[in-house]
Symmetry: C2
Subunit: 312 residues, 2 copies
Amino acid sequence: MSLLVVGSVAFDAIETPFGKTDKIVGGAASYIALASSYFTKSSNLVAVVGEDFPNEFIQHLNKHGVNTEGLQIKKGEKSFFWSGKYHTDMNTRDTLVTELNVLGDFDPIVPAAYQDCEFLMLGNLTPKVQQTVIERLSKRPRLIVMDTMNFWMEIALDDLKQTLKMVDVLTINDEEARLLSGEYSLVKAAAKIQEMGPKYLIIKKGENGALLFHGKEVFFAPALPLEEVFDPTGAGDTFAGGFIGYLAKTGDISFENMKNAIIYGSAMASFCVERFGTERIIDLSTTELDARIEQFKRLVKFNIGANLANGN
Amino acid sequence: MSLLVVGSVAFDAIETPFGKTDKIVGGAASYIALASSYFTKSSNLVAVVGEDFPNEFIQHLNKHGVNTEGLQIKKGEKSFFWSGKYHTDMNTRDTLVTELNVLGDFDPIVPAAYQDCEFLMLGNLTPKVQQTVIERLSKRPRLIVMDTMNFWMEIALDDLKQTLKMVDVLTINDEEARLLSGEYSLVKAAAKIQEMGPKYLIIKKGENGALLFHGKEVFFAPALPLEEVFDPTGAGDTFAGGFIGYLAKTGDISFENMKNAIIYGSAMASFCVERFGTERIIDLSTTELDARIEQFKRLVKFNIGANLANGN
């Protein structure tokens, strides 16, 4: 079923304890589009880049089945650029450079051919732009998933709250959930955030996995313990791409199927962090992915049979 | 099968954002003995208290089936006392008072009736004292589980390394695993620590669950997301008590059964943090415990069937 991905397609320069890169391709929508392409071949991208953006990556996306008709290429302008340096714990980082460039006045034009979208994934962007995308769709998608970040909670909270009312699933990290709700307990935070709009909330905890909340229900997906987290950039977006890609593939948006989707998202993210940028997820095989899913199954499987009250 | 629990039985005074206590009963072995008593009724305690320790708690232990013949009561002396204050995140705390008292020259005498022990749980104590207990057993237990803390890594590392060589399972938290191994990655840390002696390593991550490592195998148990963590004191000891209690009950020390044991330990710990001190775990019903185990099952259960390569 058709998926629309909206978000940044950009350049990053990354430094981790393991090395550093020059300008490489990054941006939320790059990761989301790549990750979801392992599940659905019917996906459309809305984004904006400058003339400096490599055509080779766009062709890569096309090869993955991603329609890039909605990718605007601004002549004479430059792509969004972010540069950051990770600390040893890989959970914190310093931003060294942010150049908005073409993203500064991004007008998310939705091509007519994209109008039938059933699944919408809004990568991290100004909440106003995310809202504009929803408003420009003639029919509301079956499922709208939205990512955001602390930055918008600090400088555009009212816009963010407006947009939250329009979406079904919100993905944020634990710190952001605490910031948005004013609650330290994630269970309490989840209840408050669901009252703001999204009926499903995914709280990402990096190497500590992810939680899915829906009403009183909760599901926990672990992260795979890895020898090295080489570069965490894009892990959350890759997670989101795997999540919505799997939902789009199966067409099943039940809470039960979202659990499976989160495991696929986690598996995709576990690949992403093994190399710089999109390097590891640009050419995965389904065999690799299946093997990793088996690792996730083994990781959490236990077998408690009869209960104590029955004298086991 | 018979279980020997060795550790501190003491007083704590605790302050959390939710309130504060006067002197209440605490100590690693108090939590371990209580938690394990829900699984095995054949357990023996070696510990030391002063004349100030309430007989009522000792009777509680006896009612739970814990043999206290090895609990030394030092006339005219005072019990170990710790006082601490938790920060808002509940993961960090300041120690306000530590009075060693009777624990300062604790000689862990093992009564003759305890000699046949098959399972030994060494709660956090001076590594030398832990070692002495092992040496005083005429026959090596089938399984020795040991808890320790960063303090001993800093002031008694050589003794600690000696003791590590003698045990089967080590339980520490993530920071301690990093400190002991010098590795940031928990996967690498686990490999190094297993080379130090224990063939099984449990890394406790508080609200982020626990990992069990054995060779190349890894198992992850989540923590139950809770509305409030009221008081985390003793959660790790309660976890250890549930873990070894379940192993002693089933008599099965395979890696597969250790997974179940960790889930039971996590369930016990999830009760512990709901109230101050031992309050919540002093009188649990098996029905409550079974219901919580069901919550753990639901929390991590997903259902991914056919794999992607087969075209699901």
